[in-house]
């Protein structure tokens, strides 16, 4: 099996090459974040000759990363909790009670996966509801935007929970709230984790809503802070790298911790086994 082994080696070389190409930009950010300004000017692959840890301090201070981090955590976690939760309630009822009306509501909701947002008229809504340029406004907007995809994923999962459980719970005297919170919600945990991670990362990475609706920098999430920092320090790639690195570290941590759920969520929504 000489040929087979050679083929396997070739396949590994290709896979390693592909992985390296995908990893290079993250690596670049990692090494350049520690360089001096002069050494980082070409964003090269070489290791830093001296370790400039103070780059991070400058980035945190000048880039307003502390408040950016708090805002990002606030927006991502609160909207993920609210969005996933209300989507689960809706998906549960829509999936269990298949009336014509509910079928329509379900399709109407998941249509949002495809639709674009009209930022002009949404501005008016944000002004009327006094949500524009506020942290609450961001949380509410992100919660709303997560609903269509979350309903779609959870709806499919509810079908896999036997209805006999509902019957048994009702006979035992559960009301609809108890049924949902004590019986159904715990069984939905796998899909809720998947939806939650995807929504969290999606919100953390977004900068469209802040770009349109947050004028005061005190409310900016990390993405918008980074973009603004880049505008000011374009010539100092060491500082920009440090700033970027601090922004993506939380994303990479969540990704590595939850990659099993992320990958399963992507496929359960789209490919059937």
């Amino acid at each position: 099996m000489q040929g087979g082994r050679l083929q396997a080696a070739g396949a590994h070389i290709l896979a390693i090459a592909a992985s390296l190409i995908m990893f290079v930009p993250v690596y670049l950010i990692g090494v350049n974040a520690l360089k001096s300004r002069a050494q980082a000017s070409s964003m090269g692959l070489e290791f830093p000759t001296e370790l400039n840890w103070e780059n991070f301090l400058v980035a945190i201070e000048k880039g307003k990363l502390a408040s950016g981090f708090i805002n990002s955590v606030l927006y991502s976690s609160l909207s993920t909790i609210i969005g996933t939760f209300i989507a689960a309630m809706a998906a549960f009822v829509l999936s269990r009670r298949r009336t014509r009306m509910n079928r329509f509501l379900y399709l109407f909701l998941i249509m949002g996966i495809a639709l674009p947002i009209n930022f002009f008229t949404l501005t008016t809504i944000m002004q009327v509801t006094h949500l524009i340029n506020t942290r609450t406004g961001m949380v509410v907007l992100y919660s709303a935007m997560q609903v269509p995809f979350a309903v779609f994923l959870i709806y499919g999962f509810v079908e896999s929970i036997p209805r006999e459980l509902d019957e048994a719970a009702i006979i035992d005297g559960c009301g609809p709230f108890q049924l949902f919170f004590r019986i159904i919600l715990p069984l939905l945990t796998p899909v809720l984790v998947t939806v939650g991670i995807l929504n969290f990362l999606g919100t953390w990475n977004d900068f469209l809503f802040p770009l349109y609706y947050l004028s005061s920098s005190a409310n900016w999430p990390m993405t918008l802070s980074v973009y603004n920092f880049f505008g000011q320090y374009q010539q100092s790639w060491n500082l920009v790298s440090a700033d970027i690195l601090l922004t993506v570290v939380p994303v990479i941590v969540v990704y590595l911790a939850g990659q099993r759920f992320i990958l399963s969520g992507l496929t359960s929504g789209s490919v059937k086994g």
């Binding site: 930009p25 947002i117 008229t121 609903v147």
Partner: protein, 294 residues
């Protein structure tokens, strides 16, 4: 009976948020498309089809922006699907070990903020000091060291390439899951019948993978038509108008206070995606119904 068990008010919070922040803006946006709504005046007047006439007039640039969006969408669909499929096949059949490690690394760009990816590539693609041109010069390919994001003739291709780099992992993961559902016996039977690698791919893999390829394609269509972040942060539509797409133009109209015109552009995008969305939902739901039946 079941109404008390599965009360309608469970659906209300989701529907209410969705209608207030999604549907009402979209529908009222269509109405405002026929006005001269702007930030300069408190008055809003009905102007008929004027905004649309402007958008579809050959003397304006809007048709170019729509064309650019379609070019971006078409190219990214083809590139992401071809490369994504190649990598999925590699991980499914080529390598036996470290599959998960490769998968995690190849998917990594997909979870990074688009904005950050764009900033990093602005450095990598810098004509004078960027990593890409330095490497090309180092290996003697000076002729290939182009002015990636600065030359209007290739700027769009550069944007497409960066977006492809970022999106391949996502497409690969979906196609890989699709490949894993194809029973191994099919290949073994074909091999016994003397089918070579190409015909096994052509007559087994490709037809059975078609549903996954369809899903990937619609996802790429929806993404491509709405693309904003990567273009905004890489080139902001430049140089000139070479990479201007619908969503970056919408943001510019917003910044300039041309609300009536901008909402008309938005509404055109809305109608296009409404049609696309109809097919997407039919596709997703057809798969789901098939699964229920089996």
């Amino acid at each position: 009976m079941s109404s008390s068990r599965y009360p309608v008010y469970f659906v209300l919070p989701a529907i209410a948020l969705y209608i207030i922040f999604f549907i009402i803006p979209s529908i009222s946006g269509i109405a405002y498309s026929f006005t001269d709504w702007s930030s300069y005046s408190d008055e809003i007047n009905y102007v008929g089809w004027q905004n649309f006439q402007k958008i579809f007039s050959p003397s304006e640039r809007y048709l170019t922006y729509i064309w650019n969006t379609l070019v971006f969408t078409g190219l990214t669909i083809v590139l992401k699907t071809v490369f994504g499929l190649g990598l999925a096949l590699l991980l499914n059949e080529g390598v036996r070990r470290f599959v998960n490690l490769y998968r995690v690394l190849i998917y990594l760009p997909a979870i990074l903020p688009t904005l950050v990816v764009a900033l990093i590539f602005r450095s990598i693609l810098n004509p004078a000091t960027g990593l890409l041109n330095n490497v090309l010069r180092f290996v003697g390919l000076d002729a290939l060291a182009l002015r990636w994001l600065v030359d209007p003739h290739i700027a769009m291709l550069s944007v497409v390439a960066v977006d492809t780099w970022k999106g391949i992992g996502y497409i690969m993961v979906i196609l890989l899951a699709g490949l894993q559902t194809i029973p191994r016996d099919y290949y073994e039977a074909a091999q016994i019948d003397g089918a070579n690698a190409w015909s096994r791919f052509r007559y087994i893999t490709l037809p059975l993978l078609m549903p996954a390829i369809m899903v990937v394609t619609v996802l790429n269509v929806l993404y491509g038509l709405r693309v904003f972040d990567i273009v905004y942060a890489l080139t902001n539509g430049g140089p000139g108008y070479a990479t201007e797409v619908i969503s970056t133009e919408i943001f510019k109209a917003f910044s300039k206070g041309q609300y009536g015109l901008g909402t008309a552009v938005s509404s055109i995008l809305f109608v296009i995606l409404l049609v696309a969305g109809y097919f997407v939902i039919r596709l997703l739901e057809r798969d789901r119904n098939k699964e229920e039946a089996s």
